[in-house]
């Protein structure tokens, strides 16, 4: 982990450059004006989110199949990183929608699906926080993670069918404005910037989980030695005695 600081600085630099490129290098969109510039980070956050949530489900299955703790660390790290990216996408979207569509939000299939995806992974993290035994937490949350992943296409299809029968208040337009090569380049820079931030957060979170696991093992060992010597229970971080 020696390279961590230089890599973090490098990614920070990349993010700054992506921001600069989005604001000053990319040409102004003809119809939407400067508001369209938010699109670079908006789209980039979705790409990072889909990657993160795909890692989560792979890690969930990995845990169920192998029971190696590192799959569980990966699952929680990627789910948290994915929720952060999802939140970025869900907040940057309305800032673009208000001036362009005239409304902050619409119950379009894509928007509804994303909102529910966000809720599902928030519930996933909530579930993890409420189960104490590490191995049981990993198994139960992995099962829920698989169910949640299966649900996403169903949410999309149902919303598609449902809203398809009614006229939409607004329609997605002008988003595929990738005709300008500079715009495409800026988008790719923003994508790699957000992607690197996501991976960095994921790895840090993974490391944290790894350390927690090691700390728990040490605590159990101290406790077993202490109980051999007839000492009092060791206080944990939450102030509860460990058995």
């Amino acid at each position: 982990m020696k390279a961590r600081i230089p890599i973090t600085l490098l990614i920070a630099l990349l993010v700054c450059f992506a921001g600069y490129a989005g604001l000053f290098i990319a040409p102004t969109e003809a119809k939407q004006g400067d508001v369209q510039r938010i699109f670079y980070f908006h789209v980039a956050s979705w790409v990072a989110m889909f990657t993160a949530f795909s890692i989560t489900v792979v890690a969930n299955i990995g845990w169920l199949a192998t029971r190696k703790p590192r799959w569980d660390w990966l699952a929680v790290a990627s789910a948290e990183a994915g929720v952060v990216c999802c939140t970025i996408g869900l907040t940057t979207g309305p800032f673009w929608a208000k001036p362009i569509w005239g409304i902050w939000w619409t119950w379009d299939p894509r928007l509804t699906t994303t909102f529910l995806l966000w809720l599902l992974y928030i519930s996933y993290l909530l579930l993890r926080g409420l189960v104490d035994d590490p191995s049981r937490r990993a198994t139960l949350s992995a099962v829920f993670g698989v169910f949640a992943y299966l649900d996403v296409p169903l949410v999309y299809v149902s919303n598609r069918l449902w809203r398809g029968q009614h006229p939409q208040p607004v329609y997605f337009g002008g988003e595929g404005s990738g005709a300008d090569p500079t715009m495409t380049k800026v988008l790719l820079i923003a994508m790699s910037a957000i992607f690197c931030v996501m991976i960095l957060a994921l790895l840090d979170r993974y490391r944290l989980e790894e350390l927690r696991f090691a700390a728990d093992e040490l605590r159990v060992e101290i406790e077993s030695r202490a109980s051999d010597a007839g000492a009092l229970p060791v206080e944990t971080a939450t102030g509860e005695g460990v058995r």
Binding site: L126, V131, V143, F147, L150, D151, V157, W162
Partner: protein
């Protein structure tokens, strides 16, 4: 013992347990009735409005009461550690889940069979010509609800704040089911009622996906 026979025996046990006291059924029934009555304060319940909002109202009442009713499915096995006895029994884990799933389905359908006609009466929506078709929609919708709900109650039983956690896990997952069930019921409440093929197929698809997933994952749900 084969899985089918084991499921049958466990189902009989679930039903016997509930019909001795009927507390789960009674409480669920009263709760959903309260939700249905309270919706009359949320909009003006003229017959025309009731046809428009009724399907959503009914399904939200079923979803809410279902998510509360499913709570004790596994948590009540923990009181006397009877869950360990079930685990030790020489039956496949899915038989335990399936028996509970079928029992829950049965309880929910009883509630619906009482509440749907009652809804028709107090909101002036005639259900006369659509009983059979409504039953299909109710059955398919409830099957999906209890499948996900039974699986998740096995999950939430091991967590703190489980009574609150189950609806939090279950309701977002059931969003597609709610959309499909409401749309199918809406088509039945129209002036010329039709059984919407698209939505019925969607409901059946949802049921199949979640039943298969529960079957595949039941070993993990039942492990110590």
């Amino acid at each position: 013992m084969n899985a089918l026979r084991a499921t049958g025996i466990l189902l009989a046990k679930e039903l016997r347990l509930e019909f001795r006291r009927r507390e789960l059924l009674t409480a669920t029934l009263v709760f959903s009735l309260i939700v249905i009555v309270f919706f009359s304060f949320a909009f003006d319940p003229t017959p025309a409005e009731s046809r428009r909002y009724g399907p959503g109202l009914l399904w939200i009442a079923f979803l809410f009461s279902g998510s509360l009713m499913l709570n004790p499915t596994f948590s009540r096995e923990q009181t006397n550690d009877t869950i360990d006895a079930l685990r030790m029994a020489p039956v496949p884990p899915f038989a335990i889940v399936a028996a509970k799933l079928l029992a829950n389905l049965f309880f929910l359908l009883i509630c619906e069979a009482i509440l749907a006609p009652l809804f028709g009466i107090i909101y002036n929506v005639s259900l006369a010509g659509i009983v059979g078709r409504l039953a299909i929609v109710l059955l398919l919708g409830s099957l999906g609800l209890v499948t996900a709900g039974t699986a998740f109650s096995a999950i939430s039983a091991h967590a703190r704040m489980r009574e609150l956690l189950l609806p939090v896990l279950l309701l977002p997952i059931l969003a597609p089911l709610l959309i499909a069930a409401v749309s199918a019921t809406l088509a039945l409440f129209a002036d010329s009622p039709v059984l919407d093929r698209t939505w019925v197929t969607f409901l059946a698809g949802f049921d199949i996906v979640f039943l298969t997933a529960t079957w595949l994952l039941s070993d993990f749900l039942m492990e110590e």
